[in-house]
Symmetry: D3
Subunit: 71 residues, 6 copies
């Protein structure tokens, strides 16, 4: 299934820099032009997507999940 467009407004393109694999979930660190974006997904998904260091990915975040803090 190829998805044409998705509503998640916040999309960060980059390459996988590191994967810390656990029995259930894994941490996937994505290197983007403006810093590391960290994701925790199921280890099963890491395998299904065949993610490895260097894979080109997009990190996606739903707008309702973004908090705002004032400096």
């Amino acid at each position: 299934m190829s998805i044409q467009s998705i509503n998640t407004r916040n999309q960060f393109r980059g390459r996988v820099k590191e994967i810390i694999e656990g029995p259930v979930v894994s941490e996937v660190d994505v290197e983007t032009p403006h810093g590391i974006v960290t994701s925790v997904i199921t280890t099963r998904s890491v395998r299904d997507l065949q993610l490895k260091v260097g894979s080109e990915v997009v990190a996606l975040v739903k707008s309702t999940e973004v908090s705002i803090a004032k400096l």
Copy 2:
């Protein structure tokens, strides 16, 4: 209350570019080096934080909220 540090690994500093205010929730668009990061928070929080166009903020995302897609 001043917070020294927070666990959300994904922090995007920037300035508020636009606020679309609704009766319950508002969309806050933050201009960051990554591009626009969009957040939906309560309108009450927009007022409590006295957010307006130009405010310096950090958009925060918990790692468990970040999905990964392969290109």
Copy 3:
């Protein structure tokens, strides 16, 4: 940008049955074989995706967002 695959394990294909549009967020009800799946996304995304009644879509849910209750 066309996405090849995404890690969100829970994907519910269906057609948009109803859209309730608000100033900031909208409710999108998707008719799937599981029954109606309800999503709240930004109204901006509804427009960007040009969603309307009858659009073919996939509702996506990250596994970490799924709770379990016992009957």
Copy 4:
């Protein structure tokens, strides 16, 4: 405490098909009439709820957690 009704609109009834237990979180796969729904919850909750393969459960998802993609 018995709960009469809950606001999460998206409820998927089924039976636990598989549990992958980790030290902190576990993956619980629920077989529903229309496919597998995957959940990640704390391992402590798996024990508190005494979940095992075959348990009758409901997988619950808050509408604000559902993303929409267009095919």
Copy 5:
């Protein structure tokens, strides 16, 4: 459907103190021993659950949604 138990470890019992109703989502403020707990749910759910000021409710939060900040 009566639910016997749910995995969300964080349960805050209280009474609805205020409801701010919007066209799509509503803010429901619950008075609990912890102070006010604020929830944003669909307006449709507010009606389905027949919530009003004074209703006895439980506010539920999945552990993966809780962030930690250091003072």
Copy 6:
């Protein structure tokens, strides 16, 4: 970076009572005056924040993550 204020309306102050550390994520149980609040965050954050039993913390929850159930 010191944060002056954050939009998450639901803030529970307390002390860390227990940490269950996993390879990727850890459970952090916070004792508040009105009961335990449980959080699952990355183990990397537990280390970055130097959390240990007794640390003074605030557990934070975004309003859109709070569900409501009726008793």
